[in-house]
């Protein structure tokens, strides 16, 4: 076990544990805050693996923007202090979610665990920022562009939906 192994394991454990807490807690805002911890720990994993840029973008986008947006939406609607029973799911939902999660975990494990055996101990490395850029805008440029078009379409659609709702609201007497 190298130091990197330990660091990776620690970051991974924190990520997994806070993810579990984020799903099980009854406090809506706490769930969002646990999500912050989880995403941060994932960024830590990237960092241990030497993908510094990815880690920083993870923090910048997910912690700095996405979770802030989630928190903002929560506060704007309803975020009481203390446990909130309304948000808990029914037993059926829980069972289904557990099965689904177990299935995804099994799938990922089946793919990744053999890989881990090949790679062995955790190594720093990876392409670095320059390499990442070259990969992204070289090999992967079409998926990248397709994704951005998808996001753009979603954005326009969201705008259209909001506009429609407002139009209806104005049309009502």
């Amino acid at each position: 076990m190298t130091g990197l192994d330990v660091a990776f394991a620690a970051a991974g454990t924190v990520a997994a544990a806070s993810a579990v807490l984020s799903v099980t807690t009854r406090h809506v805002v706490h769930a969002a805050l646990w999500l912050v911890v989880s995403l941060g720990a994932v960024a830590g994993c990237y960092l241990v693996l030497g993908a510094e840029f990815v880690a920083l973008v993870q923090v910048l986008i997910y912690v700095g923007a996405v979770v802030v947006l989630v928190l903002f939406a929560l506060m704007l609607t309803r975020a009481p202090i203390g446990p909130n029973e309304e948000v808990s799911a029914s037993p059926l939902h829980r069972a289904l979610a557990a099965v689904l999660a177990a299935g995804v975990t099994a799938l990922l494990a089946a793919v990744l665990v053999p890989l881990a055996r090949v790679v062995g101990a955790v190594r720093r490395g990876g392409p670095g920022t320059t390499g990442l850029g070259e990969q992204l805008f070289g090999t992967w440029v079409w998926p990248f562009e397709a994704l951005s078009v998808l996001l753009l379409a979603a954005l326009v659609a969201a705008l259209a939906v909001a506009g429609m709702a407002r139009g209806r609201g104005a049309g009502e007497p």
Binding site: L33, V57, V59, G64, A65, V68, L71, F72, I81
Partner: protein
């Protein structure tokens, strides 16, 4: 020097800068603001022109009772000041004063600084929500709305500089700087300055802590040291943004005698920028919430995109 000792020395140096520079900016604000309003400002603490006023304030804050409201969400409430403060410490460590003088030389330090400041917002949000006070909550919501809108132009402006320098490292960006950037990156610099002041929630963008409407926004319920931490975070934010502006747009350590005194140039330029930030506070009234959003989305974002396009075209054309 063994690595452990070096890490220790660097940490202590960054910590010292983190504690001293905000005090300097704070004292400058006291004095500059006072004289801009025809007053003298603090005159007694410490003897000479009240230089120790902020130290005295710190002692006062340390003596005060640390109150947590009964209805508050205790753990979140108590954690919030740390979440608000630590990111600025991390970010300050990555800002270079001269090519060799930097707390932690990260390869992608520009992104690191932006990411760290983005995390700092969470502290305000947590504070506002956990205080169980409607003014705090309103303040936090305004803060969230404002920071989300100004984050984008800020990142775009920095991206333009990174593109121009061809690097994500602040040291390399300042190294690639030439006086010609002052003109070429002017729109970007303007966007950065405005967005940075807005990120710091400083007047004229202090809607989230508008005292006449929200008492003190998200920090209303805080007392004692925790409150002092939020204040320190604000002034550390000014230091950070000013230094960042100096490094990104003013060439950092470039100037006469920059061989040995480069760090002084960076500090000096940063100081000038922070005086500008203070000046804006004194001279201009607060923006309304809708004006804030309008300025961000209709003014700064298009301008930043324009700058980005301009930089891109130039870089490709000269490559």
């Amino acid at each position: 020097m063994s690595p452990a000792v070096e890490v220790l020395v660097r940490t202590v140096a960054v910590l010292a800068a983190f504690l001293v520079l905000p005090l300097l900016v704070g004292q400058t604000e006291h004095k500059v603001m006072a004289h801009m309003q025809g007053r003298l400002g603090p005159m007694y603490a410490g003897g000479f022109h009240g230089w120790a006023q902020l130290v005295a304030d710190g002692v006062k804050f340390a003596q005060k009772e640390d109150v947590t409201p009964a209805a508050a969400d205790r753990p979140v409430f108590r954690l919030a000041p740390a979440v608000g403060l630590v990111p600025y410490l991390v970010a300050l460590a990555a800002v270079p004063l001269s090519p060799g003088l930097v707390g932690a030389d990260a390869p992608a330090s520009a992104v690191l600084v932006l990411a760290a400041t983005a995390v700092g917002i969470l502290g305000t949000l947590m504070a506002g929500w956990a205080s169980a006070n409607k003014y705090s909550l309103l303040g936090a919501m305004r803060a969230a709305a404002q920071l989300l809108s100004y984050e984008l132009p800020l990142v775009l402006a920095v991206a333009s500089v990174c593109l121009a320098a061809g690097s994500l490292s602040l040291t390399a960006i300042a190294g690639a700087w030439s006086p010609w950037w002052l003109l070429w990156q002017l729109p970007g610099a303007f966007v950065f300055l405005v967005a940075a002041v807005a990120e710091l929630q400083r007047p004229p963008f202090d809607m989230p802590v508008a005292d006449s409407e929200l008492v003190f926004g998200a920090y209303t319920e805080y007392t004692g040291l925790r409150f002092a931490f939020f204040l320190l975070a604000e002034y550390a934010g000014i230091v950070l943004m000013s230094l960042l502006f100096a490094v990104l747009y003013l060439g950092g350590w470039k100037g006469p005698l920059s061989g040995d005194l480069g760090w002084l140039w960076t500090l000096l330029k940063g100081f000038v920028v922070s005086v500008l930030v203070i000046w804006m506070r004194v001279a201009w009234p607060r923006l309304r919430e809708d004006q804030l959003q309008r300025l961000a989305w209709l003014g700064l974002v298009p301008l930043a995109l324009l700058q980005l396009a301009l930089t891109g075209v130039w870089v490709v054309a000269t490559a």
